[in-house]
């Protein structure tokens, strides 16, 4: 019972392999610039696989929002902070590894009961989803069923989600300020303060470490790589 014709199946297996490789690369790497770029690659591969899974709207959004905007934001943030991630000692990683493996085992345990890939008679594909196609054809007279469901049948979800986007914009304006000058104001009690200052004065901390540029921090990489460093003078 082949889900796709052979060429598409090979393409999908290619997508999956690349996704795994990219995810593992992000896990192993320390240079933040590479990690951010790989995250963009990961989103784009997902968008490609979405297209072959007939989710064209989602592929469009994942490519535009997931690969495009996230990468721009992460580069912007990375530019303002550090270029490298310090590794954690391995003994501190065993706990998380154990938790993650437990989660994986739980999901593989239930793999048997999941509907087969592409099964037209599974509860998902005979449930409300399939009836949307029918009702859009008879009631809505709109070609793109996803837009009809997104804006009308489940329009309230999209309203909540527009509020989430508005809140993200407002939140970043609150935290960083549109002209980049938020965060300088200090709260003072409206009366005599009896408490000792609870943390070291802010200025001292900020001046403690200048922005760690790539060149200054780069430890000699084990293998002599000739490729130009990310922006740093090698």
């Amino acid at each position: 019972m082949m889900v796709h014709s052979l060429p598409i199946l090979l393409m999908e297996i290619g997508f999956m392999a690349m996704l795994l490789v990219v995810a593992l690369a992000v896990l192993r790497m320390r240079s933040l610039f590479a990690i951010v770029m790989l995250q963009g690659v990961y989103s784009l591969l997902c968008a490609a696989w979405f297209v072959s899974l007939d989710a064209v709207d989602v592929a469009f959004t994942e490519a535009a929002v997931g690969a495009g905007v996230s990468t721009v934001l992460m580069l912007g943030a990375m530019l303002l902070t550090d270029r490298d991630a310090n590794p954690l000692p391995t003994k501190r990683k065993l706990g998380p590894l154990f938790v993650v493996i437990i989660m994986g085992i739980a999901m593989f345990y239930a793999l048997g009961d999941m509907p087969a890939f592409g099964d037209a008679h599974s509860a998902v594909n005979t449930g409300v989803g399939a009836q949307y196609v029918q009702s859009t054809r008879e009631e809505m007279f709109l070609p793109n069923v996803v837009t009809a469901v997104l804006a009308s049948y489940r329009g309230y979800d999209t309203f909540g989600e527009t509020v989430v986007i508005f809140m993200a914009g407002l939140g970043v304006v609150l935290l960083l300020g549109l002209n980049g000058n938020a965060g300088k104001w200090r709260a003072k009690p409206n009366g005599q303060s009896v408490a000792a200052p609870s943390q070291p004065p802010v200025k001292m901390a900020a001046a403690a470490k200048p922005v760690k540029t790539a060149a200054a921090k780069r430890k000699p990489v084990r293998r002599k790589s000739a490729k130009p460093k990310a922006g740093g003078t090698s």
Binding site: S43, A85, N86
Partner: protein, 163 residues
Amino acid sequence: MITLFEHYNYAIVIILMMIGLYVVFSSANMIKKLVGLSIFQTSVFLLYITMGKVTGGQPPILDPAEYESHGGGHESAPAAAHGSGHEAAQASHDAVQSAAHTADVIYSNPLPHVLILTAIVVGVATLAIGLALVVRTREMYGTIEENEIDELDYLGNLEGHAG
């Protein structure tokens, strides 16, 4: 073995989720944590979309001809050969009455697509706020490594108490 072959997509999704979650837990750098979080969320989107795929199905975009004939005069459907080169065996090529036409065209399930459109944008909104926090933390603490920040906080507590 058959079950694994029928569920290979879920197996991939589960492994990607495990990797994404492990990146979040095992990295001290705040930006790498956010990257791990977005990998974890993107693999959840894959879980939803692979659920909705139907064998030999098409993207859930109806052909306007299908419902035109309901409303307007019953002219024969135009010889609209399918533009998309989707050579699924069942797709009809020649001019077919719309009633027969709708019966055999299979569409994938649109509902997971709608849910994931929402989830993608929620993921990016959380990412934007997280990055704003990272920038502000870098200014206040001078570093974005969680273990260094804990040391600074621990020192801060002691000084505060001693003062």
